[in-house]
C-alpha cells in the first residue's frame, strides 16, 4: 500500500504521464459520446421510419382493389435495432445494412442492393470505443511505459533507484502498475458511464472491461519484455511502435488478404443481377416454365396453379419466388462464404490483440458479421410470412377485403 501511495504521489507530479492519461480520458469521452450519438441517431431513424412506413403502407393500400395489387404496392419495414451495447462497437453496422423496406417481390435483390453503401467506413473504420480500446489504447500505454527504465538510465538514476529499492519489482511494478491503472481508469470510466446511460447489461460491461484490461495487460507484458533491453528510450519507442504497427495493422491486413484469397465469396451485386435477370426473363417465358418449379416447391397450390389469363398475380409472384430460387445458390454461397471468412478471421484474430478486442466488442454489441447475417435471415423469415399471408389470397382469390390486410404480419426484430 505504501508503494502504491508513493508512486501515486510521484505520478501526480509527472506531467508527461498525466498528459497521456488525460488524453486517454478525453478520447474515451469522445468515443463514447460519438457512439451514443450514432446509436441514438439510428434509433431515431428507425422510430421515424416506423411511423412513415405505416403511413406509406396505408396510403399504398388505400388505392388497391385486389390482393395482388396490395401485395405489390405495400412496403414493409424491417430493421435491426442497435443493441444497448452498440454504442461501444458500431462494428458491421457501418458497412452492412441494418434496415430494409421489403415488398412481396423477389427478396434477394432487395437484401443485397444496399451492400455497397458506406464503403468509406469499411475502409477507415469509425472512432468508437472498441477502436479506441483495441488500437489507440496500446499506443498510449507504450507512450506511458516505454521509457520507465530507459529515462532513469539516461538520467543516471537507475542504479540508485534499484539499489535503494533493493528488489527491482518493488519499484517498477507499482510505478508501471499505477500508470496502467490510470490509463485503464481513464478509458473505462467514460465507457462505464456510457453503458449506464444506454442501460447495457452488467455482464456485457464486465466482459468488455475484462477484454480491455486483458489486452492492455498483454501489451504491458510486451512493453516490459522490450523495455528490459539496455537501449535508449527513442530506440525502445521505435521498436514498440514497430510491434504495434505489426500487430495492429500489418497482421490483420495480411490475414484479411489471405482469407479473402483463400475463401472466394460472390459479390452481393452478382445475386442482385442473377435474380433480376431471372425475374425479368420470366415475362418472356411460357407461364408453365414458372409455375412448374413454383408448384414443386408449393404442392399445396397445385390444384389452383393453372394460369389461364395473360396476367395473373399468382403467376407474377410465383416468378418472383422462382427468381429468388434461381439466385439462391449464389446467395447461399455468399452467406456461407461470409461465415467462413468470419470464422477464419476469428482464428487469425488470435495473432492480433487489436483484432481480438474489436471482434470481442462486436460480438458483445451484436454488431458482428454473425449478427448482420442473422438480420438477413430474419428478413427472409419475415418475407416468408408475407408470402404465407398473401398466397392463399392470390391462389384462392376471395373477394378483396381491405380489412383483412390489418392482419398482415408485422416485423418483430430479434432482441
Amino acid at each position: 500500500m505504501s508503494a502504491v501511495l508513493r508512486e501515486a504521489r510521484f505520478l501526480l507530479r509527472d506531467r508527461g504521464a498525466l498528459l497521456w492519461i488525460m488524453l486517454a480520458l478525453l478520447l474515451s469521452v469522445a468515443a463514447t459520446g460519438f457512439g451514443i450519438a450514432e446509436v441514438r441517431d439510428q434509433r431515431a431513424t428507425i422510430a421515424e421510419l416506423l411511423v412513415e412506413d405505416a403511413r406509406d403502407r396505408a396510403n399504398a393500400l388505400a388505392g388497391q382493389s385486389d390482393w395482388g395489387g396490395a401485395a405489390y404496392a405495400a412496403f414493409h419495414l424491417t430493421y435491426a435495432p442497435p443493441s444497448e451495447f452498440s454504442f461501444a462497437a458500431l462494428g458491421q453496422r457501418d458497412t452492412a445494412p441494418w434496415l430494409h423496406r421489403v415488398r412481396m417481390l423477389a427478396l434477394e435483390g432487395q437484401i443485397h442492393e444496399a451492400d455497397t453503401k458506406n464503403a468509406d467506413f469499411g475502409l477507415i473504420g469509425r472512432f468508437d470505443f472498441a477502436f479506441l480500446a483495441a488500437a489507440v489504447a496500446p499506443l498510449l500505454l507504450i507512450l506511458l511505459l516505454h521509457d520507465l527504465r530507459g529515462q532513469e538510465r539516461v538520467a543516471g538514476r537507475h542504479d540508485l533507484l534499484v539499489a535503494t529499492a533493493g528488489k527491482p519489482s518493488r519499484l517498477w511494478l507499482p510505478r508501471a502498475g499505477l500508470r496502467f491503472a490510470g490509463l485503464a481508469t481513464a478509458l473505462l470510466l467514460p465507457f462505464w458511464a456510457g453503458a449506464a446511460i444506454e442501460g447495457a447489461g452488467m455482464a456485457k460491461v464486465l466482459a468488455a472491461s475484462a477484454l480491455v484490461l486483458g489486452a492492455l495487460a498483454l501489451w504491458w507484458l510486451i512493453i516490459e519484455l522490450v523495455g528490459r533491453a539496455q537501449a535508449s528510450p527513442p530506440v525502445l519507442l521505435t521498436a514498440l511502435v514497430g510491434i504495434w504497427l505489426a500487430l495492429a495493422l500489418l497482421v490483420p491486413a495480411v490475414a484479411r488478404a489471405a482469407i479473402e484469397a483463400s475463401t472466394p465469396v460472390p459479390d452481393g451485386a452478382e445475386i442482385l443481377m442473377l435474380q433480376r435477370e431471372a425475374v425479368n426473363g420470366a415475362w418472356d417465358l411460357p407461364k408453365e416454365a414458372t409455375m412448374r418449379p413454383f408448384l414443386a416447391a408449393h404442392p399445396e397450390w397445385e390444384p389452383l396453379g393453372e394460369v389461364t389469363r395473360p396476367f395473373e398475380w399468382k403467376w407474377y409472384f410465383a416468378f418472383q419466388q422462382v427468381g429468388d430460387g434461381q439466385a439462391a445458390p449464389v446467395a447461399k454461397a455468399y452467406r456461407e462464404g461470409r461465415i467462413a471468412r468470419d470464422r477464419a478471421a476469428g482464428i487469425a484474430a488470435f495473432l492480433s490483440p487489436t483484432a481480438l478486442v474489436e471482434r470481442g466488442f462486436e460480438r458483445l454489441a451484436a454488431t458482428d458479421t454473425a449478427a448482420m447475417i442473422a438480420y438477413e435471415d430474419a428478413v427472409r423469415a419475415y418475407h416468408g410470412e408475407l408470402r404465407a399471408f398473401y398466397y392463399p389470397m392470390l391462389f384462392r382469390d376471395p373477394p378483396y377485403d381491405p380489412a383483412v390486410l390489418s392482419q398482415l404480419p408485422g416485423y418483430t426484430p430479434a432482441q
Binding site: 508513493r6 507530479r13 543516471g156 538514476r157 540508485l160
Partner: protein, 239 residues
C-alpha cells in the same frame, strides 16, 4: 571480526575485456576504505559488484560475510549508495526527493530528520523547497549525500562523492565521513582525488587496469601520507 565488505579474488570480464583482475580487499566496521585510480581503472565497477548489478566472473564479493549473489536484496538493504553525479528528480524539491527515495527504501523519516540531514550537508533552507532542476551540481550532490545519511545503513558506498562540491563543502564532507566511521559505519569510497582519499581513509587501495596494485594504511592516530600515495599513483599511471 567479520568484515562488512570483502572482495575475494574478484574478477570480472565484460565483452571479452578483463575489467577486474583478482582484486582482494576488506573493509571492517568503523573503517573508511578508499579505492584510488584513474579513469577506467575499475573503481565504479567494483562498487557495482557489491550492489549485485554486476556478477563476478571469478572470485566473490561479500557484504556482512554473505556472498552478494546469494541474496542481493539483503546486501542492498545494508548499503546506502551514492552514485557519481547523483541525479535526483528535477521536477521534485529536496524534501520530495528525499521522502520518495526513503519511502522506496522502506524508511519512515520525519521532516525534522530530513532537515537535520540537510543541515548536516549545509544545503540552504531557501533551496529545499525549490525544484532540483534549479540546483547547482554541488547542491544536488549535497542532497544525495543527505539521502545516504538518512538511509542510516551500516555500509556506505560512495562513488566520487566530492565531485561538484566546493573546497569548504569537501572538508565538511570528509569530517562527516570520519564521524560516520567513528559511529561504526563502514565506508567504501572510490575516487581519483588522492588528497581527499588520504584525508579521510584508514586504508587506500590503488587500482589500475582492474588490478589492485598498491595498498596504504594509516598508522595509529595519523593520516596516510599523501605524497607517498601520490608518487605511487603517478608512477603507476605513467607505467
Amino acid at each position: 571480526m567479520t568484515p562488512s565488505l570483502e572482495a575475494r579474488s574478484l574478477s570480472l570480464v565484460r565483452d571479452g575485456n578483463v575489467v577486474l583482475n583478482q582484486v582482494s580487499f576488506t573493509a571492517a566496521p568503523g573503517e573508511v576504505y578508499a579505492l584510488l585510480g584513474g579513469n577506467g581503472a575499475g573503481k565504479s565497477t567494483t562498487l557495482l559488484t557489491f550492489l549485485g548489478f554486476l556478477q563476478p566472473s571469478g572470485g566473490k564479493v561479500l557484504v556482512g560475510g554473505r556472498e552478494v549473489a546469494a541474496d542481493i536484496e539483503a546486501a542492498r538493504a545494508q548499503i546506502a549508495y551514492l552514485p557519481e553525479a547523483a541525479s535526483l528528480y528535477g521536477h521534485l524539491d529536496a524534501y520530495e526527493n528525499l521522502s520518495y527515495f526513503l519511502d522506496l527504501a522502506g524508511r519512515k523519516v520525519t521532516r525534522a530528520a530530513i532537515d537535520a540531514a540537510l543541515d548536516q550537508v549545509a544545503l540552504p533552507h531557501a533551496a529545499r523547497t525549490r525544484r532540483m532542476q534549479a540546483f547547482s551540481k554541488g547542491m544536488r550532490q549535497k542532497t544525495a549525500i543527505a539521502l545516504a545519511l538518512l538511509r542510516d545503513t551500516p555500509i556506505l558506498l560512495l562513488d566520487e562523492p566530492t565531485s561538484g562540491l566546493d573546497p569548504v563543502a569537501i572538508d565538511e564532507f570528509h569530517d562527516m565521513v570520519k564521524a560516520l566511521a567513528a559511529a561504526g559505519r563502514t565506508v567504501l569510497m572510490v575516487t581519483h582525488d588522492v588528497y581527499g582519499a588520504c584525508q579521510v581513509a584508514d586504508r587506500v587501495g590503488l587500482l589500475r587496469g582492474g588490478r589492485l596494485v598498491g595498498s596504504f594504511e594509516a598508522a595509529e592516530g595519523q593520516r596516510i601520507d599523501t605524497e607517498t600515495v601520490h608518487a605511487a599513483f603517478a608512477e603507476r599511471e605513467a607505467a
